[in-house]
């Protein structure tokens, strides 16, 4: 069984994994990182999205072995010092979640979207989140939240 070393939300783990073990199952069932849920088995829904070395991936479509030597950030590792990430706060302010099941993946995908375009239009957000499905919100408030999160993140990093 291959042994991998993976850092998840700032903690480094050494794990023996079956070659077929999915990253999302490593996170959920071995490391107790249940903040990342599973919504489908064809990589359509995006609920399991995490950042792998800074880029968003659907963790149901990545083998744990492929994450060897990588840095994984999940929804649980986003906030700092007990406060929420601006994107999480924006989702709260704009009522961009109802049942909340798609939310972890949606927030991670939204953060990744801003790497490409820190000030995205509504259209860019809609296209950029195409790989993340939500059944509750009709996406209206998610789009608003990503706009708001982008603005707040932009202000946070802009030079004073």
């Amino acid at each position: 069984m291959p042994r991998i070393t993976v850092t998840v939300d700032g903690v480094t783990y050494e794990e023996d994994v079956e070659p077929r073990l999915l990253l999302v199952h490593l996170l959920r069932e071995r490391l107790g990182k249940t903040g990342t849920p599973v919504g489908c088995d064809t990589s359509n829904c995006g609920a399991c999205t995490v950042l792998l070395d800074g880029k968003s991936v659907k963790s149901c479509s990545v083998l744990a072995a492929q994450a060897d030597g990588c840095d994984v950030v999940t929804i649980e590792g986003l906030g700092a010092n007990g406060s929420m990430h601006p994107m999480q706060r924006a989702f709260h302010e704009e009522h961009a979640l109802q049942c909340g099941y798609c939310t972890p993946g949606m927030v991670m995908a939204a953060i990744d979207l801003l790497r490409d375009d820190p000030d995205p239009s509504e259209e860019t957000i809609r296209q950029g989140l195409e790989g993340n499905l939500c059944r509750c919100t009709g996406y209206c408030n998610i789009v608003r939240a990503v706009r708001r999160g982008a603005q707040e993140m932009g202000q946070a990093v802009s030079p004073s």
Binding site: T34, P37, T42, Q98, Y101, N132, G138
Partner: protein
């Protein structure tokens, strides 16, 4: 002075946990030594089971047990149907695991219990099953033909029901206009984002079942009835539940079997479905063929309406399967006045997954049928579709109004909602653009769709459910406890799964008790904590459960008043309750409700007959349904060369009565509209002629993404309901009910000059293009 909470756009208390991943989805939960269950499912739509051999699976590493349906034949009972809608109904035996015969693809035939899900999946491959194929029955009309193969021995008709009112023959006799149409409500897969999951554990005497369910209370009763395990030995917990839309309003095979497996093995077991498994085996929605005839005068006034439905039950009758089309029985007449009405429904068995509640449940189907027909009437008479509705709808001064179908609509104002929607939409301007595009023969045509709907919510008055032969009541329960430190626990019988009850119920209790919003917690979804309840479905939670919270708070306040009078040495009648304190009128003497809670806790000085507690509970059971309504307008651009439909604008003006939290209401309407649009444009569960489901994954069953939908323009009018003291009408289903016909009416409106008067849902580019090709030839 505290500000009023009801009506404020409070951000939700639920969010922080959900946004940071500290969630309690059932699949997140575990128990020491938990075992994983997987089910082997039938690949055949209809077959006799000749042999099931699980012995090879039992020997595999990590496998603790493997069972066939026969291994549980003596104890698994039959999954319940709680709504025998007619005298002639046939309710077939429905074993949770098939024993002798399978009747749909996906029906469980065996199971494996292993130390982890990977080993369980491996072991499924080692189970051998011999099937003797039987003919599939997939088409409702063929199922009812005399030579059809039978799904069940008793035949393929599940039930028939008829409602008549007025003289239909007279209405149709010599009618200047008769519209005669057949519409198909395609089969849908509800697709809550959280797949179902169940965990069960036992201490040898009692059982705990965690399930991703909308109905922990109903489930507890039903598990007791189905398995014979005494009700007081079963505790059901609905932890965080990731959406339902009716699909988790069910008593499932997997819930029963996990409970029985925990008993058989004496160990905790857990089952989590894969999405593909869910598409096959979470109950489906809609699936009706609607034959509608409408008779009208030359000026568009409706004389009579005749509705004949075929409703696909699938292979078995599940919890409320036959009740779903009957929920629409009294709503095809909708907001319109008429002289006569007839509704016929035949429930049909097929070898497909059973259907049951899906957001709107019977009411979207009825609304679609009548709203499509109203547009056809308008076209026939060359009237504007708004005008033909105006000539028929109940005017606001006519409420309360008893409809031809026998429901009494308590309140509403269709004129106000429609006027507001027309203005927001820019109706006249869009009509002008439409005319211009038609004149120019623009390949991209503009269509305008109208949907003026009502629905019945707040399921439901228990007396009416009794008259409809439903197996339970429709009351709701709440308890309110003041804690010694002045904080408040509200315990509700509703079971939220995204609707924000914790926030809204806090707002309601904050106003009723005069305590801060932040000082209130809301407990739910655990039969050991919320010991009474009828759960969440049918836009009932606020209208029934929210009112129960009000009534429980009222009782707490009156208890506190007695205590305050004792402490302040005055008559209870001399006390004014304001901003959370009882004040002796004309003095500066007062006690806050928090101080009184502490006084009740210490009990050092209680008056005679007053107990040492400041808490109470209440149930609420309304006299009538509530009737939200609204006007939805949709503008689409249809590319006549490619068949592509693009929603250009969408305006919804809804009247859901009094609003507790406008933010939550808006979110419910957004999501509802999206789901209704999804039926109009994208989604369909497709079975082939052999009864194989072709849309088993999210790659095949097309849920709309953000890129497929526009933003919506929302507004509201507010005529409070008179059937409950909050004045709320319910909002969970309104968007879905209204939007499907708005979109399809818009598409047909765009194409009508081409000679097209219908496009079957989902109106995919191919279907639209083929419709155009059909008339071009």
């Amino acid at each position: 002075m505290t500000t009023q909470e009801v009506g404020r756009p409070r951000r939700r208390k639920e969010d922080a946990r959900l946004l940071t991943g500290r969630t309690q989805w059932t699949d997140n939960l575990t128990r020491p030594g938990v075992l994983h269950v997987m089910f082997l499912r039938s690949p055949m739509a209809h077959a006799r089971i000749e042999r099931v051999d699980v012995s090879a699976a039992r020997g595999l590493p990590g496998v603790v047990a493997a069972f066939s349906g026969r291994d549980f034949a003596g104890e698994q009972g039959s999954l319940p149907c709680a709504w025998p809608v007619s005298e002639d109904i046939v309710i077939p035996d429905h074993p949770p695991m098939a024993v002798d015969e399978v009747r749909y693809v996906g029906e469980a035939v065996a199971c494996v219990i292993a130390t982890d899900r990977y080993r369980a999946a491996d072991a499924l491959d080692a189970i051998e099953v011999d099937y003797e194929p039987l003919p599939a029955v997939v088409d409702m009309n063929e199922a009812l033909s005399p030579g059809s193969p039978k799904v069940h021995e008793a035949g393929n008709k599940a039930f028939s029901a008829t409602i008549t009112s007025g003289d239909l023959d007279a209405a149709f006799r010599d009618a200047p206009v008769v519209i005669d149409r057949t519409y198909v409500q395609q089969r849908l897969i509800p697709t809550a984002m959280e797949p179902r999951a169940v965990m069960a554990d036992t201490d040898g005497e009692s059982f705990t079942v965690w399930s991703s369910t909308q109905i922990p209370h109903v489930l507890r009763v039903m598990l007791a009835v189905v398995t014979g395990i005494p009700e007081h030995r079963i505790r059901v917990i609905a932890p965080d539940v990731g959406g339902g839309f009716g699909s988790k309003l069910q008593v499932t095979a997997e819930e029963v079997l996990c409970l029985l497996l925990a008993r058989r093995l004496g160990r905790p077991v857990k089952w989590t479905e894969s999405r593909s498994e869910g598409n096959l085996t979470v109950h489906h929605g809609r699936d009706q063929i609607q034959h509608i005839r409408l008779a009208a005068d030359a000026d568009g006034r409706i004389r009579g309406l005749q509705v004949s439905l075929l409703a696909d039950m699938g292979a078995y009758l599940m919890l409320v399967t036959p009740g779903i089309p009957m929920l629409g029985a009294s709503l095809f007449n909708s907001i319109y006045k008429m002289d006569a009405y007839e509704f016929n429904c035949t429930g049909v068995f097929t070898t497909k997954m059973p259907t049951d509640a899906y957001r709107g449940a019977g009411r979207p189907e009825a609304t679609f049928g009548i709203e499509r027909t109203m547009d056809e009437l308008a076209a026939e008479l060359d009237l504007d579709p708004i005008e033909v509705r105006r000539r028929n709808w109940i005017r606001h001064e006519e409420f309360p109004y008893t409809t031809i179908a026998g429901l009494t609509y308590d309140s509403g104002n269709y004129e106000a909602a429609t006027d507001k929607a027309l203005s927001l939409f820019g109706y006249d301007k869009l009509r002008a653009e439409q005319a211009d595009r038609r004149d120019r023969r623009d390949p991209v045509q503009l269509g305008i769709g109208v949907s003026t709907y009502t629905e019945m919510c707040g399921l439901a008055p228990s007396r009416m459910l009794g008259e409809a032969n439903y197996g339970a009541g429709g009351w709701e329960h709440a308890s309110v406890r003041m804690l010694p430190t002045g904080k408040v626990e509200v315990i509700t019988g509703t079971s939220p799964h995204g609707q924000g009850h914790v926030t809204s119920w806090s707002q309601i209790a904050a106003d009723a008790l005069g305590v801060p919003f932040e000082d209130i917690t809301v407990l739910h979804g655990d039969t050991a904590v919320a010991h009474k309840g009828m759960d969440t479905y049918g836009s009932r939670s606020l209208v029934i459960g929210g009112v129960a919270v009000v009534k429980a708070c009222d009782k707490v306040r009156e208890k506190a008043r007695k205590l305050a009078a004792h402490v302040l040495e005055c008559s209870p009648d001399d006390l004014d309750f304001e901003a959370g304190a009882f004040k002796v009128r004309g003095t500066d003497q007062s006690r806050t409700i928090q101080e009184l809670a502490y006084a009740a806790f210490t009990a050092h000085d209680l008056p005679d007959g007053v107990e040492a507690r400041l808490d109470s509970d209440a149930t609420f059971d309304p006299d009538n349904y509530s009737f939200p309504h609204g006007t939805h307008l949709c503008a689409v651009e249809v590319d006549t060369e490619t068949g592509m439909v693009k929603i250009r604008s969408y305006v919804a003006v809804d009247d859901v009565g009094t609003v507790i939290n406008p933010l939550i209401v808006e979110g419910q309407v957004h999501g509802g509209i999206a789901q209704g649009i999804a039926q109009a444009l994208f989604e369909e569960a497709v079975y082939d002629a052999d009864g194989n489901l072709l849309t088993t994954t999210m790659a095949d069953y097309l849920l709309p993404s953000a890129a497929d939908l526009p933003s919506f323009t929302l507004d509201r009018t507010e005529t409070p309901a008179t059937s409950n003291p909050l004045g709320a009408k319910g909002v969970g289903e309104a968007g879905t009910i209204a939007s499907t016909p708005a979109v399809v009416n818009a598409i047909v409106d765009a194409l009508r000059p081409h000679g097209i008067d219908d496009v079957r849902m989902p109106c995919t580019p191919e279907r639209v293009w083929r419709a155009l090709e059909g008339v071009r030839r």
